[in-house]
């Protein structure tokens, strides 16, 4: 298997796995229990919380454990919306957000009468800041724009957005940082809420956090006990919570080295792919090096994926290519050429890959193009 889909998920690192095994066996009692073992686990969870807070330059009390990125996004969007609807019912998000953001917004529109503005992006896949300026109003209570787009790697103009939102004191700014964590510097200053996930950085699936600044008021989405200050009910998945601290520390330590490696892979592939007939690159040139999105104008995504899959490659694109020709909502924002939209493929990289994988891919892709293009 030649894995080119690290933006989708990553293998668990050996160090995390080893500690997980130990923690899972040793610390099975409920972290809310007040006998010594329970207190011990609670302590470990809070150490993990503190470690993450230090790495992200926030306070430990600002970290809420969730079951992953999607839940954290739901909590941010719905939590802010319900708690602050007395101040306004308008929300602004980019049109290229992850489905957990977009569908949370649709949910609010459909079931709770919220007004949502979806910001367009330019051909580089970046939010058009001017459009935000036009859309934001006094009754806007939340702006949510991701740090890095998951399909194209386009880095969003977060600093400019911060400046605009800052002028509206009823409005919070949330950023989904899942594809940025461990891959680039993240500056959380002036960001009110931020989402992170462990399994994209060699950690455990089902493990995420929402960073929520102290001044931000949210309502819980999962009602339950006293866990996480009453904002997220349910017995904590303590081994996962404990391990996210280690996962994040390792990611930060290796960030510069990994990014250097991945950058070279990305540049090489971008160069080679640009030389090929009928291939166009969709990722902007200043995108995160961890993602490279391209289209083959002569072969639809699904056929390309099948052909690459037969050669042992795991890549990502659209899961369905039915008669209605569903296309990527992200690429569709950037381009209108139907063949470009039908033929998108996303490659995403890791330091775990080798030059053999990368160079082999170019040869195999050319073969597929010659045969089916």
């Amino acid at each position: 298997m030649k894995y080119f889909d690290y933006a989708s998920t990553t293998p668990v690192s050996e160090e995390v796995l080893k500690t997980y095994d130990e923690v899972l066996r040793k610390y099975y009692v409920n972290s809310e229990s007040i006998y010594p073992d329970g207190l011990e686990i609670d302590k470990l969870i809070n150490k993990s919380r503190q470690q993450m807070a230090d790495l992200l330059a926030v306070k430990d009390s600002q970290i809420i454990f969730t079951s992953g990125g999607s839940e954290a996004n739901n909590l941010a969007i719905k939590g802010v919306a319900f708690k602050n609807q007395n101040k306004g019912k308008h929300i602004i998000v980019s049109s290229i957000e992850h489905s957990s953001i977009l569908n949370s917004c649709k949910w609010l529109q459909e079931y709770a009468g919220f007004d949502v503005t979806y910001l367009p992006v330019n051909q580089d896949g970046k939010v058009v800041v001017e459009e935000l300026k036009k859309a934001i109003r006094n009754d806007t209570i939340l702006v949510s724009v991701m740090y890095v787009n998951n399909e194209t790697g386009a880095i969003q103009p977060i600093e400019e957005i911060k400046k605009i939102v800052k002028n509206y004191h009823n409005c919070y700014f949330h950023s989904d940082c899942v594809q940025a964590l461990g891959k680039m510097e993240i500056d959380l200053s002036d960001i009110d809420l931020a989402t992170f996930s462990a399994h994209k950085i060699y950690g455990l699936k089902g493990s995420g956090i929402l960073v929520k600044r102290n001044h931000v008021q949210i309502a819980p989405v999962i009602s339950g006990g006293q866990q996480e200050s009453g904002l997220r009910g349910g017995t904590l998945n303590s081994p996962a919570c404990i391990l996210f601290g280690k996962t994040m520390r390792l990611a930060f330590q290796q960030q510069n080295h990994n990014t250097e490696v991945v950058k070279e892979y990305n540049e090489y592939l971008r160069n080679e792919l640009e030389k090929m007939d009928h291939i166009v690159i969709n990722s902007p040139s200043d995108a995160s090096p961890y993602v490279l999105n391209f289209s083959c104008l002569t072969i639809p995504s699904e056929v390309m994926m099948n052909a690459l899959s037969l050669k042992g490659y795991c890549v990502s694109a659209l899961s369905t290519c039915d008669s209605k020709q569903k296309v990527s909502h992200v690429i569709a924002q950037m381009y209108s050429d139907i063949n470009r939209l039908r033929g998108t493929i996303r490659l995403s990289f890791s330091h775990l890959m080798s030059w053999d994988d990368i160079k082999g891919f170019v040869i195999d892709l050319q073969e597929v193009l010659d045969k089916y293009g």
């Binding site: 639809p300 699904e302 056929v303 390309m304 994926m305 099948n306 052909a307 899959s309 037969l310 369905t320 290519c321 039915d322 008669s323 597929v368 089916y372």
Partner: protein
Amino acid sequence: MAKIEYEFILIRFGELSTKGKNKKDFIKQLALNIQRALQKYENLKYERTRDHIYIHLNGTDPKEISPVLEKIFGIRAFAPTIKVENDLEAIVEASKQLMMDKGGTFKVITKRANKQFPHHSDEINRAVASAILKNNENMKVDVHNPDYPVVVEIREQATYIMCETILGAGGYPVGVGEKALLMLSGGIDSPVAGYLTMKRGVEIECIHYASMPYTSQEALNKVKELARIISSYQGRIKLHVVPFTELQLAIYRNCDEEYAITIMRRMMYRIANEIANRNRCLAIVNGESIGQVASQTLNSIGVINAVSDLPVIRPVVTYDKLEIIDLAEKIKTYETSILPYEDCCTIFTPKNPVTKPHILKVEKQESFFDWKPLLQQAVDNTEVEIIYPNSNNEEDYL
């Protein structure tokens, strides 16, 4: 008293009781099919007589193997049976236990084959019935149409008691009628065609044409799943997967678009004939139904059939789609068949396929290209897999 344990399952034959001299072969084949299907139950022992097959349970729960038996062709009915000593008190006690957790109507039928037994049939009926009635207030007697006919068979060595007769699938045991090759497409019709063929005692192998990368691994997995579902009627099934892409591309490049489907079907039949011959299959089976699509008009069927030396059997040829769907639901292939993986890329589907192809025109179209090497290549590169009813790898994790 300990909980009643069933001793064996009594199996009654279907249509084969009319088969005269061949009967022995039929029973042998049926016994083999049963043993194959129940392979994983190691405690079972089998006994064959002229009129019945007995599966001695040795502790195996009959509820576990009933669903398997229900699918084996050649079985008219079967009944889990308990064995007690020839003693009235023992018979009464066992019957009582047997009916303890049941509810509804019953009737006791005693067969006193052992005339030495000191009680008359009528006496036994009364004793057993009153014990059941006294012990379980949910039971009532109905001598005409009972839910549970409690059969007490008194023989030389022991007495056998059964209270439930489960209907089998009928038909002939698969394997007595030689072998045929089923064209398994992944749609609704072909698994039904396979089922109906097996029901007549014909063993089937399956052939599937894969056009990777234009069709996906998911589409192929779906075909394997269909093969797995119908394999339970014969214990296992051989699936031939033909790599068809090269031929399809050649048709696409060398023939008129409107004739592409007709020629494609002819290529499929040619390959099926070759694979059938190599595997001693005596006929080709498929799910064609008159008029359903352009290639299934009588005209098309004729032109396509012309390349087949082997007889082509079309069990659902006159069925309405709804009739086929009913059967597909019954054999539980429908839900899998309607999964949307097939043909999701439409580049090979012409907009206006010809419904009345002319044989001369088709032959002329085919004459522009030398198909033999590609046909040979497809046959040679065909991959074979044996599929079993329980061949889900995921089981290890569950």
